[in-house]
């Protein structure tokens, strides 16, 4: 999360479980992180449900607001959120979030492997 949050234009990053509980975060404050974690899970669940209803599977969703851009990418444990400045380059942002999601998945697999 720290590596992702240090990328140009990105202001914070976190991984949340599907129920909104924070798993890992790199944000300015813990309180903001917990709120954003819950919001990320809700946005991710809604977007995933939307595509699943159409027989597809969600990879990532980008929400553009006046103050921020949010990328929510799917990971094994739930969702990854990258919050960026509103003028950040969308495609690059999406690619970085997806690459980070891959890293999170690899780390999860490694952790599960070491526990078994």
């Amino acid at each position: 999360m720290e590596r992702l949050a240090s990328q140009p234009g990105i202001v914070g990053a976190l991984v949340t479980a599907r129920d909104g509980l924070p798993v890992a975060m790199h944000m300015d404050s813990t309180e903001a992180g917990e709120t954003w974690s819950a919001v990320a899970a809700m946005l991710g669940n809604l977007a995933a449900r939307l595509l699943e209803e159409g027989g597809d599977e969600m990879e990532a969703a980008v929400f553009h607001t006046v103050n921020h851009q949010f990328v929510v990418a799917r990971v094994q444990v739930g969702f990854l959120l990258a919050a960026a400045q509103p003028n950040a380059e969308g495609a690059a942002l999406c690619d970085r979030a997806r690459a980070a999601a891959e890293e999170v998945n690899a780390a999860t697999r490694e952790l599960i492997g070491s526990l078994l």
């Binding site: 909104g20 709120t35 819950a38 809700m42 939307l50 597809d56 969600m58 553009h64 607001t65």
Partner: protein, 265 residues
Amino acid sequence: MRKWLSRGAAPVDFVAQADRLRLQGKLEEAEAVCAQGLASFPTYASAHVLMGDIFRDRGLTAAAEAEWNEACRLHPEHPRANLRLAQLYLARGEIAPAMAALELSLLYSPDSQEGNSLLAQATEAKPRRLGPDRHAAWLTPSRFDELLSAIGGCPSVTATALIAPDGEVAGSGLRGSEQSGLAAMLMLESRHLLRRIEAGPLRAALIRGKRRDLQCFEVDGFVLLAYLHLGTPVGLVRTEIQRTVAALRRRWDDGGTKDALASAA
């Protein structure tokens, strides 16, 4: 499920005591107890909900709304805070935000009698037909098909739909499994959630799938959905659609001016 009280010791005592006082009609005492507790536990969302209830009972609606919003800011999915906001929006006739708050509330308390009864009321209150007075001045019902067909003609777009501000489908070029209702719900709820974290108004959402992408735009209060060819660059489709909408508006504006001039002549 997430705990509404996530940090520190559980200060449930002051909330129970303040609520008892509220129910006995001792509103000033209830407020004092709750305020004192909140001074020690400012991030306790349920206490903010109760403070909102106390303000509501005292007839201080704006202060009540601020407390319920604060509870939702702390815990966006708090069922009771969302329920209170839904009641307030519904009383004001703001159906779309009421529905969005209710969806959140019922997501975590699906069996809530109060929530389900409010949802029935909100559904009942939802206008069945689109009235011309609720449309943006330039986006009239007679133009929906033209707009959808123009957007559908963009190279990146495979199918489109237009959702009115109240969640009704105003026009659709979707087929089979393409979901306009769910997409409208996604935009309404995202708008609601993002407002809670002070992210500002939602302009657009892009959902990338394994088979195709879906872009949702705000167009003068309407939600425009566009299913895209897989891998369409994020910026490209936005530019294509914005240009198409701008060109249509220019044409309609020119037509309106010509009609007005003809009438005047």
